[in-house]
Symmetry: C2
């Protein structure tokens, strides 16, 4: 059973693999995800993954068979274990709990070499619905406090398999970054009685120097204090704290915008490795007037050095205004 | 002039290069620091760096000449600019200031291929004194609030030059990570009326499962909630919030311990890329009963993926207890 341990100073939780750790010589090589070889996520290999949790496909399709267009399966090498009790306990002054949680893989398409920008709008929308359906289902498990949805694309961004997929993790605590973000937004709200994200949207739309794209319900921009070159946010224009409450019309517009932005990033940066992360509210929070969900996309272009690690203080060599210009002009 | 911008939600400051940003095609290749070619930090090339700020060497040596054993020079490509006013101002709802600060390079040894574990104890001690002397000098400039001392070793850890060096940055604000760490320590102190780091030292010494090495005045251990495999801390046994207040006898023992630990990491992990970061108190804080300075060393072994970025929530595949064992047994 993995352990989740709390840093006693900053309150950060860390998953520690306690079974058999990686030994010193097991870190040496970084393997580029292989292409063309056997792929457990390709159609026909459904029996090579744990049994599916959810799949969208034609009604006649049987479970764990070919024919799906989106498929969610348990991660074969999960960082957390689904069965068991959380069992919070002390170890002297330290705090830990069992590494309980869900760790799922969302296979975005049956096609090994197609990414989101290559899919039909409807298929991208189905990815959005699959994320939403999994959040709705996982939040029924009262052991969980937060759900992380993210993608690692490319070896440099942490991917170990090539086939397009994202990941869903249900955690028994709210991670520190989410906590801090929501606290910061709360402090702004307490002071101004307005949502800080709504204010950002208003200012971005009026300044119009960091906007990349806009449709009726979503806007994509480079944040004012972007940590990374070409860091991009997609955010709903109308206030909403919970992604899973997305309206049907919004899901369709979000899918279009997501595809649009990922396409621009691919064109401008020559298909870079990237991560996306859904910033969402904790599962047990009611609708929050101060928090606003959004999708953060960060191409992995520059290396993060000691400076950034030690401080949470970043050096961004590309002003967001210039990055927005490049992305806006991309075809 | 670079700009320092504040993220309006979380309060994180980011340095944005506003002169001429890196364009999309300028990120493509990651260059391994060259060896054997021209090195601006090697003796004889003193005129290839900006004029030195500090150097230790024989009394007869002239400034910017050969013969030094530790040398501090301004960074030729500084992230911050030393001249100017900070000029805090708003941009609508956003906050920014001029990118004022110091960015210096500490050349640890004249020898291109010798790292700290290869140097005489006395020479390592001089590195410690050079760091201390620079902090003392920089804190006289009242524009500065915090000094970062760190090292990037190896390309994967962010180094761009091979010759052994570390970096010193004086910042016009306290970075968020330092702020959070000190706040967390303060909360513990308010609750327990004891320093959280002193408590950790006591528990680590009594449990003795994460200790790597110990001498009269310092202890090195793997933290309970280590984010990274083989993350190691070196901390003074006697409470002290400010590194620059180090006693003479402590400097000598710290140098020995630093060399010892870097040697063990090199042996066990086959000369890995790594970062070290000095966790220290803000310049304008008096002696703090709740904060305790320490040196954090993190080998760069595993890639950090989207999961870690988005959440500040880490997965560490090597339990610190096992890492401690490997390091302890190293010769």
């Amino acid at each position: 059973m993995p352990e989740i341990r709390r840093d006693p100073v900053i309150g950060r939780w860390v998953i520690i693999s306690t079974e058999r750790g990686k030994r010193p010589n097991e870190f040496s090589t970084e393997i580029e995800p292989e292409m063309g070889k056997f792929c457990p996520f390709c159609p026909g290999n459904e029996d090579k993954t744990p049994s599916e949790i959810l799949a969208y496909g034609p009604p006649e399709r049987a479970k764990n068979q070919n024919g799906w267009w989106v498929r969610v399966v348990p991660n074969k090498f999960p960082a957390l274990q689904i069965e068991g009790n959380i069992n919070r306990e002390a170890q002297g002054m330290y705090d830990k709990m069992n590494g309980i949680g869900a760790h799922e893989v969302l296979i975005e398409t049956p096609e090994h070499k197609k990414e989101i920008p290559d899919l039909d709008d409807k298929k991208v929308e189905d990815i959005i619905w699959a994320i939403r359906d999994r959040i709705i289902d996982l939040r029924k498990d009262t052991r969980f406090e937060y759900i992380l949805v993210f993608k690692n694309k490319g070896a440099a961004a942490g991917a170990s398999l090539y086939h397009p997929h994202s990941q869903i993790m249900a955690l028994p605590m709210v991670p520190i970054r989410a906590k801090q973000e929501i606290l910061g937004a709360k402090q702004y709200f307490d002071f101004k009685e307005r949502c800080v994200f709504c204010d950002m949207i208003t200012q971005e739309l009026s300044q119009n120097i960091r906007i990349v794209a806009e449709n009726e319900q979503f806007v994509a921009f480079e944040p004012f204090a972007a940590r990374f070159p070409f860091e991009t946010w997609i955010i709903p224009k109308v206030h909403d704290s919970h992604f899973e409450d997305i309206q049907k019309s919004e899901a369709s517009q979000f899918a279009k915008m997501f595809k649009n932005i990922l396409h621009r990033i691919r064109v401008v940066l020559d298909d870079p490795p990237f991560n996306f992360i859904l910033h969402n509210s904790p599962l047990k929070d009611p609708s929050l007037p101060h928090f606003h969900w959004y999708m953060e996309i960060t191409p992995k272009l520059s290396k993060i050095a000691g400076f950034e690690w030690g401080t949470g203080f970043y050096i961004n060599p590309t002003p967001p205004e210039e990055a927005a210009q490049f992305l806006k002009e991309a075809e």
